[in-house]
Each structure stands twice: as structure tokens, then as C-alpha cells.
């Protein structure tokens, strides 16, 4: 794939864009100011979780666990069982692998409404390598009953997700990257767990993306229209579980090709979740999954890794055109 989107990424980022992680931190501070039950629980991750100001402002509302992710989740579940609104914050790679059994048993099975916050998710850590990548988390956690999985795409979705999560007494996994993310849409300000957010409309193609891949998908859609006159529906599928089957059925009903895009392994993520629904419900749209292939990722920054595997404006455009036989 070409290297165009490295340039596109730079020009596309307004200075006002914040990392979703920063929005998580500022929103949590706002909520904590009026609700003493809001707790941040960290595994030596208050710096990487942008929670230093939170800790300074609310020293009684942050619980440090140390580098012990199993304990992070077990303790968080104990805290949540007493009515605390617990945000357990740790790099997604460790939170969802090292603590997988605690998520399954202590959070989901025991129905302790912990909000698990996986920071620097996907390949956000770039060249730090596969130990620090979380390309398995959707797949692993989708198979855990009683867990909502959310990957917000932009600052708006992030803020909404944190506010909803704080009030929802349900186990939730929230996944954030650390790259500044531009707003997707000024028009669609609807956000609800379990409801995909349509940020562009068109009848020639459907792009379904999640998290930090929604923006390059949207840019690809804009380029496809500008250059080729191809109009694409673009969905930010921020809720991986429960997946918005109604929206999937509606857009698949257009009959046009569907392309999914995600910062995750090709196995078990958004793409396979969509494929499973579509195939079992009689939809025969042309369909393709863009994700990280089954290999240890190439060394590079997040942008370089995205470009390498085609999870970029140019890569998504190329894949879309091929799916459209153009």
C-alpha cells in the first residue's frame, strides 16, 4: 500500500483535536467533582492514563494498585461491589490479557459494574512491539458474557461514552488510543451504547469502522466521492458488543459492498462479528475485512503500522475500489 496517508494524517489533524484519552481524563475529573463515588483505579498507569491531574485534585478518589493487573481488576471488582463507580485504567494489552480471568469472573460473571479502561489500545504503542499491542481484545472479550465493549472514535464519542458508563451499572470495556482524533461529524450528535453512528451517507458502499480507524475510513469516503463520485455510508461502530444488528441489516439491505476496518486482528473482531450476522441472516453483499493480519506486526509507529497494513485513507480507498471492481 502507498504511503499517502502519512501526509494525509498530518494535514487532517486540526490543532484543537485531543487524544480520546485526554477527553477521558477531563470528563472523569468533571464527573468526580460532583460524585465522590467515582474512583480511578490504576496499575502505575496514572501517567500513561493522563490521570495525574485527577489524582492531584481528587486524592481520595484514586486507588493505586501497583504493577499488578490481576489485582487491579480483582480489587476494582471488590470496590464496585460496594457501589463505587470504578474506572480501572491500564494499558489495554495488559488489562485484557494479564487480567482476562478476573474480567471474566470477578467483573462479568459476578456482575460487578467495573468500567475497564484499556488505554493506548491496538498498536498505539507502535514500535514498542507486540507485548504492548492489544489486537486480541475484541475477540477475547466478545466471548465473555455480560460485558459491553466500546471503542469511541472521536472526542465527542469518548465524552459521551464516559458519561454513560459512569451511570450504567454494568460491566463495560472501553478502549482508547492516544493519538489526537479529529471530530467526525458536527451533524450527528447522537450517541447511544449499542447504536452505530452514521457519520456519512451514500448508497454505493458501506464502510464500517471502529475506534481510531473511523477517521481514515471517513477521509477515504470523502476522497472516493470527490475523485470518483462514489458515495459511501460510513459508520462509527463504537459498540462492538452488543453489535447494532438493526443498523447492519438496514445498510446491508442497500445491496452494496461492505468493508469493515479495525485496529485489531483479522480474527474475532468487528469484521467477523459483522460477517457472522450478515451471513446468518441471508445477506450476500460483497464483503471484506480490513484489519491487522495474523502475524507479529511490522516495526513502526502507529501511523506507519496503519499504512503498512492499509488501514489508511489510501489503503481503504484502494480496497474499496477493488471491492467495487473499479
Amino acid at each position: 500500500m502507498g504511503d499517502v496517508s502519512t501526509v494525509v494524517d498530518k494535514k487532517a489533524l486540526p490543532n484543537t483535536s485531543l487524544a480520546n484519552l485526554d477527553v477521558f481524563s477531563s470528563t472523569l475529573q468533571e464527573l468526580a467533582a460532583t460524585d465522590r463515588h467515582i474512583l480511578a483505579v490504576t496499575s502505575d498507569s496514572r501517567g500513561s492514563g493522563k490521570l495525574v491531574p485527577f489524582g492531584q485534585k481528587f486524592p481520595k478518589q484514586i486507588v493505586e494498585i501497583g504493577i499488578a493487573e490481576q489485582n487491579l481488576v480483582g480489587v476494582a471488582a471488590g470496590l464496585a461491589s460496594t457501589g463505587k463507580k470504578v474506572f480501572a485504567v491500564s494499558p489495554a494489552c495488559f488489562l485484557t490479557a494479564r487480567s482476562f480471568e478476573q474480567i471474566k469472573t470477578d467483573v462479568a460473571y459476578s456482575n460487578n459494574p467495573v468500567k475497564l479502561v484499556g488505554i493506548s489500545a491496538g498498536v498505539s504503542y507502535g514500535a514498542l512491539g507486540s507485548t504492548h499491542h492489544s489486537l486480541h481484545d475484541f475477540a477475547a472479550l466478545r466471548a465473555v458474557h455480560n460485558l459491553i465493549i466500546i471503542a469511541p472514535a472521536d472526542n465527542f464519542e469518548t465524552e459521551q461514552a464516559i458519561r454513560l458508563a459512569a451511570e450504567l451499572e454494568h460491566p463495560i470495556y472501553l478502549r482508547f488510543g492516544k493519538k489526537p482524533m479529529p471530530l467526525l461529524s458536527e451533524d450527528n450528535k447522537q450517541f447511544e451504547f449499542g447504536k452505530g453512528r452514521v457519520v456519512n451517507e451514500g448508497d454505493d458502499l458501506v464502510l464500517i469502522a471502529t475506534g481510531e480507524t473511523v477517521y481514515p475510513a471517513l477521509q477515504a469516503a470523502r476522497q472516493l466521492e470527490a475523485v470518483q463520485g462514489i458515495r459511501a455510508t460510513v459508520i462509527s461502530m463504537h459498540t462492538i458488543k452488543p453489535l447494532d444488528y438493526a443498523l447492519l441489516a438496514t445498510v446491508a439491505g442497500k445491496g452494496c459492498p461492505i468493508l469493515t476496518v479495525e485496529e485489531h486482528s483479522v480474527f474475532g473482531g468487528l469484521g467477523e462479528a459483522c460477517a457472522s450476522f450478515l451471513m446468518q441472516n441471508g445477506f450476500r453483499n460483497r464483503f471484506s475485512i480490513m484489519a491487522i493480519p495474523d502475524e507479529y506486526t511490522v516495526t513502526g509507529s502507529q501511523v506507519e503500522i496503519f499504512n503498512h497494513y492499509g488501514l489508511s485513507e489510501s489503503g481503504i480507498m484502494a480496497k474499496a475500489l477493488s471491492l467495487l471492481d473499479k
Binding site: G78, G83, N112
Partner: protein
């Protein structure tokens, strides 16, 4: 309760453990019999838990880390009025809520457990919450000596002393046997007292079948202000039934009718003593 009353309760509890395990044709017999006297003292003399206070924010919390000996917990909860004892006739049966490990579907159960090494972290989180809100409740967790190699226990043990959780009491039901053999041969955890003391805990050892000693130990909590407390309860796996005591096969052995009748006879004699 007096020591005599507790002794009579334990006879009743042991009888019920065997009855319902036999009915279910499944259960962890040896471990339930080793920990039942501890549960007896906790629920009858220590915890401020009852069906009426089951949702109270200030109730003490009991979290059973060694979830496989759930039969001991169920018979005590039934006796305390959380549900009709006859419910246990469905233990492990198709569609029953009374599954073979603690589940919150059963009234009085605080956390779902079963996978080992989970009770202590859950208890630490619960105890931290009490400290944050300055609530007076205490948190108790029962672990087996066989589950102590789980690393999560030691993560939690470190944090418990870091946060000076003197509202936390862990009890180890040290029956010295696990499914593969003597715990000392599988993965020795001795000297257990020294290990926990090194982790910042205050530790006492008691005979886990001595009602007086157990009651006195619980009455003495916290053993030191500012430290979590550990009670190492030295117990006998299969305690109370001669042919089960210290016999590995009774880890999850199920008595047949004849064995059950013999056990009842032994318990009846014990009850009269």
C-alpha cells in the same frame, strides 16, 4: 453461641453437607468438612450478616475464595434463613441455581467464585472501600492452603498491608491436602506465617476445629492496628468422619448409602458427647 451450641450446630452442618452431596452425587466433601467449623463460628458468632441485613451497606462481607467447598457455605446460609434448606435438594441438578461453586444467584452469597486466587483481591477492594467511606464493616475471606500458589493472592497480600487494611481478615483452611497429594509435596507454602508476616500481615495460628480458639481469635481482630490479619486454621480434611479424615480420595468423594449411614452414626455419637 456457646461452645456447646456451636458443637451441636457443626454436627447438624456436617450431616447436611453429606446429605446434599450424596443427593447431588457431587461435591467437595473433604474440604467442606475441614472448613465447616470456621464457617460455623463466623456466621453464628462474628459476622453481622442476616437475611434482613443482606443489602445493608455496613454488613460484614464474607467472600469464599475456596469456592469448591460451597456445600459448607450453602448449609450455613440455609440455616441462617437465607433460603429454605430444601432448596439444596436441587444442588448441581439441571437448571438449579445451586451450582457447585458460590454464585450470587443464591441469597447470601457475596461474590461468584470457583477459580482459585480470587477471594483475596476481591476482599481487598471491598475493604479499601470501607476505609474510603469510613464505614465500620469488616471483610473476611476463606482460602485453602492448596490455592496459595496462585500469584494473585500475593499481589493482594502486598496491597492489603500497603493500605493498612486492619478491617480485613483472611483465614487459611490449612488441611494440608489438595487434589494431587499433600500440599507440602505439591508446592510447599511453609512457613506460611513467616511469609505473610514478611508481607506486612499480623498472623495467628489456631486449631480450626476448636470453637473456643476460633471465637477468641475472631474476637481479637485486628491482631495489630494498621495491619491486615491472617488466621491460619489448622484443620483436618474430612474432619468428623473417621474413614474420610486425611484421606485424599475424599477431596471430592461422594458417600454411598452405606457410607452415609456410617457417617450419620458417627455424627450422632459426636452430638451426644
Amino acid at each position: 453461641m456457646t461452645v456447646n451450641e456451636l458443637a451441636n450446630k457443626s454436627v447438624q452442618y456436617r450431616r447436611n453437607i453429606l446429605k446434599y452431596i450424596m443427593g447431588a452425587k457431587a461435591g467437595h466433601t473433604g474440604g467442606s468438612l475441614s472448613c465447616i467449623d470456621i464457617l460455623n463460628v463466623l456466621y453464628n458468632n462474628v459476622l453481622n450478616i442476616s437475611p434482613e441485613t443482606a443489602k445493608s451497606a455496613t454488613r460484614d462481607r464474607y467472600i469464599q475464595s475456596k469456592g469448591h467447598t460451597v456445600e459448607a457455605l450453602y448449609v450455613v446460609l440455609a440455616d441462617k434463613g437465607f433460603f429454605p434448606e430444601s432448596d439444596l435438594e436441587t444442588l448441581c441438578q439441571y437448571k438449579s441455581h445451586y451450582i457447585g461453586h458460590p454464585t450470587k444467584k443464591v441469597a447470601g452469597v457475596e461474590q461468584n467464585t470457583g477459580s482459585l486466587g480470587h477471594g483475596l483481591p476481591l476482599s481487598v477492594g471491598t475493604a479499601i472501600s470501607a476505609k474510603l467511606d469510613e464505614l465500620p464493616f469488616r471483610v473476611f475471606t476463606l482460602m485453602g492452603d492448596g490455592e496459595l500458589p496462585e500469584g494473585s493472592n500475593w499481589e493482594a497480600a502486598l496491597l492489603a498491608s500497603h493500605y493498612k487494611l486492619d478491617n480485613l481478615c483472611a483465614i487459611v483452611d490449612k488441611n494440608t491436602l489438595q487434589i494431587s497429594g499433600p500440599t507440602a509435596d505439591v508446592c510447599s507454602t511453609d512457613p506460611l506465617d513467616k511469609k505473610f508476616e514478611a508481607f506486612g500481615w499480623a498472623v495467628r495460628q489456631v486449631d480450626g476445629h476448636d470453637f473456643q480458639a476460633l471465637t477468641e481469635a475472631f474476637d481479637a481482630l485486628p491482631f495489630e492496628p494498621g495491619k491486615p490479619s491472617l488466621i491460619i486454621a489448622n484443620t483436618i480434611k474430612g474432619k468428623g468422619i473417621s474413614y474420610m479424615e486425611n484421606q485424599l480420595k475424599w477431596h471430592h468423594g461422594v458417600p454411598d448409602k452405606e457410607q452415609y449411614e456410617q457417617a450419620l452414626a458417627e455424627l450422632t455419637i459426636a452430638g451426644k458427647e
